[in-house]
């Protein structure tokens, strides 16, 4: 996964170790999500921090917004549900549907949280290649076996997607999609036959790995060294997270 317009190793953010980047984004997302409803200024602080990060990393805005648009399309459906609830002042009523101040606050708050968290996560994946993400996860003490499974999954994802696409193209070319019942049967057969092939493929991969000296334990790449800037980045993130919360905690 290429980050496209951003050349690697260019900005301060890119020079941080992957585990530091994951840590910073995770702390930020945690702070965003655990802010109580209605604390607008806190999200304002976090929003400014993310905006600064966008400027710092020089990710292309169009790419960021494009990804955000795709992701928020299906979130919006659930979001609407937060609007309709009891409590507070009734602002608008039609039948049993009513919009109250509490509902409006909930909608705004959840929108803020989800939007900011999505922005932060997209920044991470736009600036960090997947292989580095996995390296960072191992450095953060995730079970190496799990990360090895994830890496192996990511490697074969596109292979299997391509197989599905070519199978569905073959089915479409043979006019096998006449009515819905037939269509479902064809999809079921496709998935079934691909499972059989996948299982056998797993065995072949295992034997190929053995032939190349696989010892049964996943080899984990050297985790990149940490510098003083990694410590600083984490400190700044924690300070920002606490600063945002402090607005409402302090009298």
């Amino acid at each position: 996964m290429q980050s496209g317009s951003v050349r690697p190793q260019l900005t301060l953010w890119h020079r941080l170790a992957p585990q530091t980047r994951i840590g910073c984004v995770f702390l930020l997302v945690l702070a965003i999500v655990s802010t109580p409803n209605g604390h607008w200024q806190t999200w304002g602080v976090y929003g400014l921090a993310i905006a600064a990060l966008i400027l710092l990393t020089r990710v292309s805005l169009s790419k960021l917004l494009q990804r955000l648009a795709v992701e928020s399309a299906f979130i919006s459906v659930v979001l609407l549900g937060t609007l309709f609830r009891d409590g507070g002042q009734v602002l608008w009523q039609w039948g049993w549907l009513r919009v109250t101040t509490v509902g409006l606050t909930a909608l705004g708050s959840v929108t803020c949280k989800t939007g900011l968290a999505l922005l932060a996560l997209n920044l991470l994946t736009l600036t960090t290649p997947v292989s580095q993400l996995f390296q960072g996860l191992v450095a953060l003490r995730s079970p190496p076996l799990l990360v090895a499974i994830l890496a192996s999954m990511y490697r074969y994802l596109h292979v299997l997607q391509d197989e599905f696409i070519s199978m569905s193209r073959a089915a479409a070319a043979r006019n096998l999609i006449g009515n819905p019942n037939r269509h479902r049967l064809v999809v079921g057969n496709m998935i079934g036959s691909l499972f059989i092939r996948t299982y056998d493929r797993g065995d072949r991969i295992y034997r190929a790995m053995l032939a190349r000296g696989y010892q049964g334990l996943p080899t984990v790449g050297q985790s990149p060294p940490l510098f003083a800037r990694d410590g600083w980045a984490l400190t700044v993130t924690v300070t920002l997270a606490l600063l945002g919360q402090a607005i409402y905690l302090l009298p």
Partner: protein, 244 residues
């Protein structure tokens, strides 16, 4: 992607269908997040241990491709009775094919990659997503399917089909109900709205899930029944008979 145009129009777009059970960040309160994460971490730890002892060094390649398989299978759209289209969630199917532990582990891997790499489902909400679809969908789905199938007869197709179909539908609906309760407990959505919106929609999704799961299982039942986690005994007995 241009070359995929034809297939994509048939698939209905790779990313078009909302994965309604994937909760994004910001919808759950800290207590709900914490509890579901704890359960998810426990599930992951036990799954890793069980799968490692069952598959040993084949774990990484086999679980990797199977997770990629579920991920790819989730992208195929098909018509659901009632006029809309949906896609497979695959929890019960993974359980029936790979067993409860490996199936859950594969689903967990799918959720982590979807959440971390593709931003489909949030980072802090991942615990809840794993709890809903990994624990309830796969683990619960598997044991429901197994109970029904073994009650109706382990070695006949009728028991298999009814078991998979009922378990697939039930696991999706129960996961949706639990998801609605999580959202309501977090104070995000009122319980009645959450239940109404989530469950009514997933009653339909569940029918699609059941139909596709049964169609998939029937193909494997006819061609390679030995691949099932609980393979029918006929094949298990007849295979050694050849070498007797």
């Amino acid at each position: 992607m241009v070359t995929h145009g034809l297939a994509l129009s048939w698939l209905g777009g790779l990313f078009s269908m909302p994965l309604a059970l994937h909760i994004p960040d910001g919808f759950l309160s800290p207590p709900v997040t914490g509890v579901t994460w704890l359960i998810a971490i426990a599930l992951i730890a036990v799954c890793l241990k069980q799968v490692q002892s069952a598959y040993q060094e084949r774990t990484v390649p086999l679980m990797g491709v199977c997770a990629a398989f579920i991920f790819a299978a989730q992208m195929i759209n098909f018509p659901i009775p009632g006029g809309t289209s949906g896609h497979l969630l695959g929890g019960t199917l993974a359980g029936a094919l790979l067993g409860p532990w490996a199936g859950s582990l594969v689903m967990v891997a799918v959720f982590i990659v979807q959440g971390v790499v593709f931003q489909d489902g949030g980072l802090t909400a991942m615990g809840a997503n794993i709890f809903n679809m990994g624990l309830i969908g796969t683990f619960g789905g598997y044991y429901l399917y197994r109970t029904i199938r073994f009650a109706l007869g382990r070695d006949n197709w009728r028991g298999m089909a009814i078991g998979v179909g009922v378990a697939a539908w039930t696991s999706v609906v129960v996961a949706a109900i639990v998801c609605a309760f999580q959202l309501a407990l977090s104070g995000t959505v009122s319980l009645s709205v959450a239940l109404w919106a989530m469950v009514s929609w997933h009653l339909l999704i569940g029918i699609g899930e059941a139909l596709i799961s049964v169609a998939t299982v029937s193909f494997i039942w006819r061609t390679r029944p030995d691949l099932f986690y609980d393979s029918p005994r006929k094949t298990r007995l007849s295979a050694p008979a050849l070498y007797r």
